[in-house]
Symmetry: C2
Subunit: 548 residues, 2 copies
């Protein structure tokens, strides 16, 4: 290993690269940026959460970790902390709101008071220990108190944007710190890691301000109640709704536990500006005239168990959707959730509500920078090397193309996969190896205890169920005793298919008679054949031969 | 029942209304418009196809059906015909290409030669039998030979647009027959049924011509092979690709059986204009230089088993994606398929291809009319009553809003659900009843033999698998004999959880000892508890008590 070597390793992300966790390694020192969770994709059946697979990378390097810096308080950047901190209990650096949301999370995992959580402000420079000095700089994103990171190391300055957009008129706080970006550029940046989420989107992402206009129009036109759903973590949107409601003489209630908790935390930390009397509880809201009421509800992704999902399905105990209600979907649809969201919207229409959803109504904008913004950042920061992060491979390619257009040589741009290690030293930079940088499934209380084999079984079971045959055999004579018992679930309606079940019993007995030496195989084969010929389905077929 | 009564009933559609099948009833006469299939939604586990539930409606009215008219040759309008024709074998009226594609379908279901398939042309007026006279008029859609229907009945004229867009420069044939629409308007239209798919989309849908420009750019810039995927049924897109390839001196091969069949059928019927020597087979293509090659492949929805899916996964026997390849996704992503499509795109990038996908590249446009087009149709046809169809409830609401803006009284607009019956007579029009208008699942060879209970089991199995306990008991003494056998699939890795399995065995024995009277319940309860406490998972728990 050459002297003065810095390694950068994107570690976590499901489809996306370097989204949920990134490591910087210098000598025997490691700095970790973010530790988020991901939500399982459709074919990760029964999986509750997905966390970055950090254990392999950290296995022999636990003692090297000097600290964790967190860019902002969204789940995909903080949700993995409770898992990571059980492995390495090091100081965590975050801005005030982010720290508040991390505390909430630690409480739920029984880690309250056990973690050294250090609050920083944008502008602070903090020596993390070892060779890392981190300057936090203000960026705009869909949650207040988001920061980017300027990480000074003996090998050079690394700038990590975190999630950001260049919003000149943000819903919360100032525009991003363009001055800092220019200053880093002047100082000389070894490597830039920049948010690629919207790198295939031409132009600029609209300002949060445009949402104010959209909301004003909704409130102006609404005769009855206004019910708005958004992401539980989109705190600046909650702020916008509260301001808009107040402007139009409405009180606001929050419905949904996750949202209530975040709002309470943000409010207690001073990150929500709520005019006196505007925020009320649901009971108080219900006593006010519809034309003076606004409800912010969870369920932006159509989740049937969230507040809006229950309203849509007519299963909400306190709110019944009716003619005159206006429902606003103030969020994007996360890919994979389209069906659930469509169903919720259709059901709300069915119950008489007017539903405002699409892009044309200006009730939502993205929190991530589009192509023109990304170019401006590249142009200000002028990095020697560039690593597009936060995005799927296709987004990284789009971002890389922008960087090439701006004159960064192709060989200085690294399109990585999670676990790829880029090494920087006096001779240049290169991808040197790959560490396990995948993910781990959390299912119930189990972390990492299910994998491809279990998921494959769940997949088969989900498609055609199973057929199980229990047969008893005399171990001495090899004779079948009694009738086989056939049990199926998820395959056919048993009551309407007694014929098939009876033939399955016969098939089992005959199979054993023909080939008693390998009873498992012969039953499985015969039964699978029968079932496929009769139904063209391929359930899991399981023989149980009892011989005691 | 009043005299001169006409009923209109949207029958099939999954989420969408009147998409796949519609019935018109006059006296004891029924005319059916289209009979399509739908593809299952994510939570319809293991379901292969979904067809309209026509059996309930037709149960006592089989003899009333006079004929089936088909608007165009897409799966969601013709795929249900083989199922319907087994119930009512009546004449089917379709234009030439549509009839050709229906024949293909009948062949696959062994119905070749058993159906009276009558070919019509746009402009034809056909007396279907009974009171129905149908005029077929030319519309533009993403497959050639699409028609709308002007159905003359004693109660008045009903206009059904079918799927359409108002394309002034279509890829195939003439612009839509505006003259016919105006003529119907002058004649007086009782009721219009119009395509609502894009009713929440402002402006005009771009012309197919814009795709020519997008494709030209792709071919101009591509150095190596061009591989284009589109819907198997998007025949006009195939035509556009063939023309573009020919313009740029490339030969074209088709990869994927469904596409090959449709192309062959369309070509033999004269609906594809293929310059001599341009269409070659895959073997011939591979001998040509990359810069002279174009491949049209199935797999636009990221299906892992389709041609493009196999290329993306590196499992295609003949095509290996490499640096220099350009892959074009010339299709929209059907909601619900986003994950699969993203994965395919990312994998293609991973293998070195440049992938052209998003809207900005003009490689795909919708085949359905947007708001300005819908307004023009309403304005030409000037219907007394209006039924928005082909769309989810939210789209129907958007379409209805346009109609109200154009002066159609709200009470003359019917936003229906499938199965709602609208009755027209001399006194006016009203929704009178609801017939079962849902859908039926096709799974393997079974039609309608699985339903909610089986799907619920599949859902549970898909999430946490199952735990099954087989225990033998002496029927006389009630004593447990031998050890219980625990079988699990999709739950945990058994090998790493032998402890848990052993405790499950003990739990079963103890449960039986405590309460032997209701062994099923006591085992299920005890075992569920153990499993949940240990894993926080809720697999299906199945006790099997053998007492013989």
């Amino acid at each position: 290993m050459a002297n003065n070597t810095l390694k950068i390793i994107p570690l976590g992300g499901l489809g996306e690269i370097g989204k949920n966790m990134t490591a910087l390694e210098y000598g025997r020192n490691i700095l970790i940026v973010d530790a988020g969770v991901m939500f399982p994709e459709h074919d990760m059946l029964g999986v509750d959460l997905v966390i970055p697979d950090f254990t392999h990378y950290l296995e022999e390097k636990r003692d090297w970790v000097r600290g964790i810096v967190v860019t902002h308080g969204h789940e995909d950047h903080i949700g993995g902390l409770p898992f990571l901190l059980q492995e390495v209990n090091v100081p965590v650096y975050a801005t005030r709101l982010t720290a508040g949301l991390i505390e909430l999370k630690l409480q739920k995992h029984g880690l309250e008071g056990k973690v050294n959580l250090k609050t920083v402000r944008a502008g602070d420079r903090v020596s993390i220990g070892g060779p890392f000095n981190v300057e936090f700089f203000h960026v705009c994103h869909s949650i207040p108190d988001s920061v980017g990171l300027a990480i000074r190391t003996p090998a050079g300055l690394v700038v990590h944007t975190g999630d950001f957009k260049l919003d000149y008129t943000p819903a919360w706080g100032d525009p991003p710190d363009f001055g800092a970006l220019a200053r880093f550029g002047a100082e000389g940046v070894l490597c830039l890691l920049s948010d690629s989420t919207n790198a295939d989107n031409p132009g600029f992402t609209p300002s949060e301000k445009t949402v104010d206009e959209g909301l004003d129009r909704v409130f102006r036109e609404a005769k009855g109640r206004v019910i708005i759903t958004t992401f539980g973590s989109l705190m600046s949107r909650v702020q916008q709704v509260i301001h808009a409601a107040a402007r139009h003489g409405r009180v606001v209630a929050i419905d949904g536990r996750s949202l209530e908790e975040s709002v309470e935390r943000a409010q207690s930390l001073g990150y929500l500006d709520i005019p006196p009397g505007v925020l009320v509880d649901l009971q108080t809201l219900k006593k006010r005239p519809d034309s003076q009421s606004c409800l912010i509800a969870t369920g932006s992704q159509g989740e049937p168990t969230a507040a809006l999902g229950r309203m849509a399905a007519g299963r909400h105990r306190q709110i019944t959707i009716k003619e005159g209600d206006t429902v606003v979907m103030s969020s994007r649809v996360i890919p994979g959730n389209e069906e659930l969201v469509s169903r919720a919207i259709n059901n709300l229409f069915r119950r008489g509500a007017r539903v405002i959803y699409g892009r044309a109504d200006n009730v939502h904008v993205s929190g991530h920078a589009s192509q023109e913004e990304l170019k401006l950042v590249l142009s200000l920061v002028k990095p020697k090397y560039f690593i597009p992060v936060h995005g799927e491979l296709r987004h990284l390619h789009a971002h890389a193309a922008l960087a090439r257009q701006q004159g960064i040589p192709a060989e200085n741009i690294f399109i990585l996969e999670n676990g790829h290690v880029v090494e920087f030293d006096d001779r240049g930079a290169r991808v040197v190896e790959r560490v396990p940088g995948g993910w781990v499934f959390v299912d119930g209380s189990g972390v990492g205890d299910i994998g491809p084999a279990v998921l494959r079984d769940r997949e088969i079971l989900s498609q055609d169920g199973f057929v199980l045959a229990v047969v008893r055999r005399n171990p001495k004579t090899g004779q079948v005793e009694g009738r086989p018992v056939i049990i199926t679930r998820g395959f056919v309606y048993v009551k309407e298919n007694m014929d098939l079940i009876e033939r399955a019993e016969e098939t089992v007995v005959n199979a054993l008679r023909r080939n008693g030496k390998d009873p498992q195989t012969s039953i499985r084969k015969a039964l699978s054949e029968l079932v496929y010929n009769e139904t063209r389905r391929r359930p899991m077929v399981l023989p149980v031969v009892l011989e005691e």
